[in-house]
Symmetry: C2
Subunit: 340 residues, 2 copies
């Protein structure tokens, strides 16, 4: 590999001059510039990033710390991050925490979680990244990224604490939007299959649902709210319970597509037609939503946008480290299919 010295020698100038030509740091006479440029292309010189970084103390590299890339939203967010970063000449160093592994979910080895996260952050820091983006779907790990960072940090999807910069989506407003969508189509008795009762998204979405119902002057009886665990099977169970309600709702809002799928299967087993006898909507817009029969109307997570914004924010923070924390909340959109 050719070095700056080779170029300097060939062009008959000093390395300083070559550096200035490459970086446009100083005005140089046209002839010199020309000569250097020719030399550069002759030996096909590329500046050594390592040397540059060592000297400058900047690597133009962002660490992306990821809960688990196998999580769909995570992959889509990383996609947005990666694109934005590389457009601006930043490199992405990727570290997967593998937090979705069955093993760890089962045993809830909190200590191990914390250790993995902090080790990951340490690894990234030891790679001299200019900033870190933490991408996680679950908020329960958030506390673990504890030690105050000297490196700029942005949370993508998850929230961090009030003092952190984050980019996420709106649980409340999206749920409210969906309710209004159903209301506009004449559904007044709406049952809800919520997620885990104590989880943050469940609470927020419920809030949005209540708000929207109240604004419409409609009651939301607690019998119409059933709690699942985000899994397919719980969608089935809760639907069976809903079918024992009297009067029956005309629409069911499941808080994710998996439970919506379970709901639809149960409904159809009972001989109910969708959307004729019962409308069903979901949340997440996972792949499965478009392949259900009928295709499911649901809420699309703004995953690429989250990535794009997170990348933009981290680059801002590197430019001016003293900016106050920002919290961006991106709106979700409703994907209309055929289940309403």
């Amino acid at each position: 590999m050719a070095t700056i010295r080779d170029v300097a020698q060939l062009a008959g100038v000093s390395t300083a001059t070559v550096s200035h030509v490459v970086n446009g740091t100083k005005k140089l006479s046209p002839e010199t510039t020309e000569r250097v440029l020719r030399a550069i292309s002759q030996v096909s010189y590329t500046p050594n990033t390592l040397a540059k970084s060592l000297r400058l103390g900047q690597t133009h590299t962002i660490g992306v710390l990821v809960e688990d890339i196998r999580g769909l939203p995570v992959a889509a967010i990383v996609s947005g991050i990666s694109e934005t970063l590389s457009r601006s000449g930043y490199k992405t160093i990727f570290h997967d925490l593998h937090l979705l592994e069955k093993l760890y979910n089962q045993y809830e080895q909190i200590g191990t979680y914390r250790q993995r996260i902090n080790d990951g952050a340490a690894l990234l820091k030891s790679s001299n990244v200019d900033g870190i983006i933490y991408v996680a779907m679950h908020d329960r790990h958030l506390d673990y990224l504890l030690n105050p960072m000297d490196t700029p940090l942005v949370y993508a999807y998850s929230h961090g604490t009030e003092k952190d910069t984050c980019v996420t989506y709106s649980n409340r407003d999206s749920a409210a939007d969906m309710i209004r969508y159903l209301l506009n189509r004449g559904h007044e008795r709406i049952a809800v299959i919520a997620g885990h009762p104590h989880s943050y998204p469940t609470a927020q979405r419920l809030l949005g649902i209540q708000t929207a119902m109240q604004q419409a002057g409609l009651p939301l009886s607690s019998e119409y709210i059933r709690y699942g665990d985000w899994e397919y099977e719980s969608g089935r169970e809760q639907t069976r319970a809903i079918l024992r309600l009297d009067p029956l709702p005309t629409a069911i809002f499941a808080m994710n597509d998996l439970m919506a799928a379970g709901c639809m299967a149960t409904l159809q087993e009972q001989g109910l037609r969708i959307p004729g006898d019962m409308a069903v909507v979901g949340f997440d817009n996972r792949e499965i939503a478009s392949y259900l029969q009928p295709p499911l109307t649901t809420i699309a997570l703004p995953t690429p946008e989250i990535g794009v914004r997170a990348a933009a924010l981290i680059m801002d923070m590197i430019g001016s480290p003293a900016v106050p924390p920002r919290r961006e909340i991106i709106h979700c959109s409703i994907v209309e299919r055929a289940s309403v």
Copy 2:
């Protein structure tokens, strides 16, 4: 940040000695070692990776060049790569080519594909990676990674040329396995919904299917082989065509889960029961397979293993660059569900 010089000064030794303690490069007296170690923890010294890499010409970093992280198998492979790499102390620098974008599929801007891929490779090389893993689902871009690499290169999932090192899965044997599986359950008339007629996986899988049928001494009439385009809708179309066959097959083997889903939907619309009237199997084991009614029996891609092996190979190649190209083919397994 503390440097090696700070440690040396505090411990009253030379930087060379500190270096030897840190890297275990030379035998040193226990007292000196002890003293240095204490100094290290006192100033909480961490070797500067950048300086080390510059000096040694090795970054302990692997570039992962990815077709598009939003592709499911790609994400799972990257997951395996990342885990294996970080276990061995390697860092992953990630570059997404975004090749799944609608825009580019529509216009087939070949020039742009090639440019993206080569730019990506150049970017990684300019980051001084020790090796590159190229992860792509489609083989049609393979030619584009043209310029002979001075950097070790492994293809994961896709194949490269004969002279390249790659890790992939077995199309032929897996398809043959699936046929035998059906045969063993008494199905003798098996229809196939293949992918694009000229694609590599289609050809290979067809080969496997023919072999297995021949070995069983059964005919495979060309009428029983229909070509789709890997998409859901084509699964529906080809199933309609299959239903006009006489005699009707007793099982349908779709070459991916999406087409299998379309197939099942059409079958059920026609009042056929699965697996009672017709067995259906797929290929890929995408998420959707487990949520179909009935859950789909299919072939699971060994995606994490591909990643793990690719990572292992690239590390081998860095250790001894002169090893001849290796081609590893990993077996797929059948995931039994309820559609047979």
